[in-house]
């Protein structure tokens, strides 16, 4: 590992962490515009995080070390995951140490910690949120793995940079498996990031919450870390989708500053497009009933499965 590649990796993680609140702010801003409001500036999440970081921490009497450790673990996991997902370049120092399955496991660990923390304070809302989160997890993770498998079968690798390089090397052709896998991943991403129609990130109704219910007891810097982790997670998913299905524009030649700048530019552009699409989608749809989650995520699983089936059918036919 050269010093240059280490610096690049730090810059890479730094960029994702730094830009994550802006993506969330951007989604909120576009949603505000779509619902006829002026809305706060897209930079508002930075101010919110700064405000939370300056506040005191209030802890419930009943919490254990799990509750206190979770915000740090969550943030660390997301930062680590950010090292693994190529954003503006496929050349990552840590990439050879891991692959897509590692990423899924990391996100699973984060979820596990959050669900524990949700139950830790012993409130009924936290328990309700954790229970719903685990329901979503049991449905979303198999679907996610189906996507991983179908991508791995296509690219003959589970390493993310190699998948990106594979897609880059093959000019964009319409492939039914690719479309199905992409659709499945989008559905999973919506569920994983607590977006409408699975969860409502802006609701105040405790009884309907999933993600928010688990973090109701968090205050101050703890809450800031969890919020930041959620923002990074959303950015990661967008980066993941872009890396797997639209890696174009990534800087493969890092010695050329213009190529790197172009890579960063297209990455930010992709985030903006994805954020806008998310806002438009969320504005046009209501949240679904809790007992409809299996249908929604079942669809994702089915599409992931079909992606694999069509891949084999394709191979056999050709």
């Amino acid at each position: 590992m050269t010093l240059f590649s280490l610096a690049l990796d730090v810059a890479h993680v730094g960029l994702t962490v730094a830009v994550a609140p802006l993506l969330t702010g951007w989604v909120r801003w576009v949603k505000a515009r779509l619902t006829l409001r002026r809305g706060p500036s897209p930079f508002q999440p930075y101010r919110d995080l700064r405000r939370l970081l300056r506040k005191d921490i209030v802890l419930a009497d009943s919490v254990s070390w799990v509750f206190i450790a979770t915000p740090f673990v969550l943030f660390a996991i997301m930062a680590l995951a950010a090292c693994l997902v190529p954003t503006f370049t496929p050349s990552l120092a840590l990439a050879p140490t891991s692959d897509l399955i590692t990423l899924v496991a990391l996100l699973g660990l984060a979820r596990f910690m959050l669900a524990l923390a949700g139950m830790d304070a012993g409130t009924s809302f936290g328990g309700l949120g954790s229970s719903r989160e685990m329901l979503i997890a049991t449905l979303a993770e198999p679907a996610m793995l189906m996507v991983v498998f179908s991508v791995a079968l296509m690219a003959h690798t589970t390493a993310l940079p190699n998948v990106a390089l594979f897609v880059l090397a093959h000019p964009p052709v319409f492939h039914i498996s690719l479309v199905l896998a992409l659709s499945a991943l989008v559905l999973v991403a919506l569920a994983e990031n607590a977006r409408i129609p699975i969860d409502n990130p802006t609701t105040h109704l405790e009884l309907t919450m999933v993600h928010e219910a688990m973090i109701l007891e968090y205050t101050g810097p703890h809450l800031a870390l969890i919020e930041a982790a959620a923002m990074i997670k959303l950015t990661l998913y967008v980066a993941l989708i872009a890396c797997l299905f639209a890696p174009w524009g990534m800087a493969t030649d890092l010695s050329d500053a213009r190529v790197v700048a172009l890579g960063i530019g297209t990455y930010l552009g992709k985030l903006a497009v994805a954020g806008t699409a998310l806002a438009v989608f969320e504005t046009g749809i209501a949240k679904m009933r809790v007992f409809r989650y299996p249908e929604f995520l079942g669809t994702a699983l089915l599409m992931g499965l079909l992606a694999i089936v069509f891949l084999y059918v394709n191979q056999v036919v050709s």
Binding site: L34, L36, T202, E282, T283, A286, K287, R289, V290, F291
Partner: protein
Amino acid sequence: MESSSPLMVFLAEKAPVFLQAPWAFVRLTRPGWCELIARLDTTPAWALLALWAEPKDVHAALYDEESGAFALVALACPEGSFPSFSGARPGAVRFERAIQDLVGLRAEGLEDQRPWLDHGQFPVRHPLAASPEDQPPVPRAATDYAFLPTQSNVVLHQIPVGPVHAGIIEPGHFRFHANGETVVRLEARLGYVHKGVEKLFEGKTPAEGARLACRISGDSAVAHAVAFARSVESAVGVEAPPRAHALRGIMAEVERIANHLGDVGAIGNDAAFAFLLAVCGVERERTLEVAGACFGHRLMMDTVVPGGVTVDLAPESIERLRAWAARLSHEAPRLESLYDSTSSLLERTMTTGVVSAALVHRFAAGGYVGRASARGFDARTAAPYPPYTDLDVTVPVFSEGDVDARMRVRLREIPASLNLITALLDSLPEGPTGVPLPTRAGEGVALVEGFRGEILTWTRLGADGRIKRCHPRDPSGLQWPLLEAAIEGNIVADFPLCNKSFNGSYSGHDL
């Protein structure tokens, strides 16, 4: 009138009837009261609209759904107790618990003896009793309340919600017993916004009373004020002038539209469909702006007084109202089609929170709660009062009883109210907007349709013309208990949607 009504025949046999159309006043003896309860048990068509008490008397308002007759029955309670209606009419339970808390009259045979409005924080024991100062309070912790237990062979968990909620809404506590996501039972505990409204009415002049009536439930400022004004007018035997009636009608319909717009948007928002809230918010704001410009107050508070109204419409205000009505008449169908074309929202509202027609009739719940479950009661048609006596009031009725039906009642009532406003503006009578009130003792009652449902206000004036007792019964009083039935068997996450579709008034209920 309606002398052939079974209710009237029954009452006429018991005691002399004093008519004050459409109401028949009857003072029953104790055996007569007991017979009435027995008869209610076998006559589902007789609805109990309200139940309240003075220090020595208990009053009940009855309505015969079949013949359309209204009656007020009273019973003297020299022993400080009265036979309970609760066995025959479950809607009476909370009224009687409130009477026990406030007046101190005991309901004999009332199974649920828990305090209702008294959370152990009153400065006196029974604030509405004849001499409350003689009764020292019995303080207890506000949290000291025995929620009904559940029996189950699976482990149920409890979810306490409120009284302080995350949104900007009124306080109330909801206790869920849930089996995972499924609600086994919901029990509401209200009374957190009890502010002694009935006590505050005591000794006020009718004009001062009107100011208080506006503030019973701020969203129904006009409806409560009209109900209060009409009850006073009926007590002293005057009728407001025609122009005042027309102006009251216009304001009441504007208020109905503004609230329905707010509710339609809020129901959408609770299903995370914020776009509906946004477009409804725009129309609601335009409505309130017009109300503020034409009547001097966005919620039209303090515009209605006994004897008439304190505002008048200038010609340019009439034009402004017309322009607003024309615009909204164009927008309202678009709101409905937006709702209809959002399948993800319909998926949430349809079959959610069903209240059966039988239950709605048993509780005599009015407004959109009743009309969504096939009970088409509307005070504007059941007990027509001016200006509706000369108007063709359209009352949309649905039978599904779910959130969707309650939403649709509102969506249909918006254009119906716009038509009424246009008709009233077209035929706005000239003349004075008020008459002076004579100073005299009397007892009067009025039934007025607010946006939630019918408001029943009963007022007794003393010989000095001041209020001796005023009981405003908000429609929520009969609707809140049904919310507990609506959520049964639904999932916990659907409660906010059911609750918003009821939109009960905490303040109007807690008084």
